[in-house]
Amino acid sequence: MPLFFSTVLQKPARVLPGFNITLGFTLTYLSLIVLIPLSALVFKTFTLTWDQFWSAVSGPRVLASYRLTFGASFLAALVNVVFGLLVAWVLVRYDFFGKKVMDALVDLPFALPTAVAGISLTALLAGNGWVGQYLEPLGIQLAFNPNGVVIALIFIGLPFVVRTVQPVLEDAEKELEEAATCLGATRWQIFSRVIFPSIAPALLTGFAMAFARAIGEYGSVIFIAGNMPMVSEITPLIIISKLEQYDYAGATAVALVMLVISFALLLVINALQAWQRSRTGAPS
């Protein structure tokens, strides 16, 4: 009898069949497609000496590309926080003509291939484009320079903030706002003291996701950036150009730097989402 109990307690019986085969297949497929190829990158980097590695990841052109990639991604994610919150707010709180279409259209940057977004934004903003022709006489150039990079990254990152903030706004309890009004708060006070704190974790998560996506983005940026060395060359393009010169070691070293940064961001995003869950109490 005690023996029976101990086995039951230690190992809850798995009623459903298929654990071994599904987990086995999952791990095998994950290893073959993701883990082994990613480890190839790490091992390849180990064949470099420290000096080789350092000179590959800290050349002046590479450093300039980090500055552009991180600066433009940060700016774009910031713009997306402001406008993403605005779009999410309008879609959740107000009724207007064409709302459903707008709601569906928010996901366009997810669905539109990045290369198409790239050539289309370039066509719009170039000197003879629909938007560019009005800006050029004013001395504003948005294509073929770092401005273009920011614009492309705003496009790519837009859905992240909207789609993380939207469900939180939908679930927000109106009773809290009513209570605040009855206690004499103005609408602005309610927004800044009641609503904003409840959506802040979602905003931060959206920011981190848009930022992470922007750092790795390639397709939409290369058409609009102009790709001038030291000025408008993003880090993924550095990897490509090193590859095209058969500098596999250099490309690998820069890629490892990017990979480490994306892992760090992934951990940050996971932590932010855990924080958001603990704030809202929802098990999503």
Binding site: A111, L112, G216, S262
Partner: protein, 305 residues
Amino acid sequence: MSSSSSTALRRAHAGTTEPAWVKFLLISFALTFMFFFLVLPLAAVFTEALRKGVEAYWASLQEPDAWSAIRLTFITALIAVPLNLVFGISAAWAIAKYEFRGKAFLTTLVDLPFSVSPVVAGLIYVLMLGAQGWFGPWLQAHDIQIIFAVPGIVLATVFVTFPFIARELIPLMQSQGNDEEQAAIVLGATGWQTFWYVTLPNIKWGLIYGVILCNARAMGEFGAVSVVSGHIRGQTNTMPLHVEILYNEYQSVAAFAVASLLALLALVTLVLKSIVEWRHARALKAVAELPPENPHWSFNNALTH
């Protein structure tokens, strides 16, 4: 007395929304932003494609190179999506239906390809399977070409679309629990029957949703595929790569013509996605209005019908 309570009510209501002019301003700002960043780029694709008329548009789509790019894109998606579908179902079954050590870590690993830059995704396959790579000499000795050929394109596409279906299914199956499957097993169903008749109808919409998104990314992937493709016209060019080549050769109309097909694909994706979401929301609402005797069963019923 009654008038003071009604003013309090009105004030409470006014506190939960904005004055009309603020509303109008916010909606105008949001719509202007969306117009410039979403509507205009989409419209520009089709306008540029038709710049020299419908005939030039059709002519550029009937180029043999364009055709082979379209074919390769479909072949790639036809291989990559089913592979990730099988993986998604298998991973969701293992993660959602059982408890085991390292489950949270495994879930994170499944999401990993989303956070890797597409260019890095392509590079890792070059390092592993390219001429200079780990298996390069062996592959060359056996006359197998993967990098700069179709298998490399498929592999890179599988990598970038890896998490789409799994990440839709895992939370969905977790929220549905094991009760129905256990009942089926106790009643004598085999594991396969349980999956086919009990689980699959319950996860149908999540599955379709994942497949739609996975397919859109598989057909539109650019960075990863660009690294492994080698850009051989008529052989290893997918549609997005073909767009790039035409664009760089200043064949604007042809580039935008192929791009317009991809934009159409994106629009179809958005429409399908919205339909799936609306159906799901309607099912949830129907459940909320049902009597509460047996909510779980009616929930799943409503989702499947």
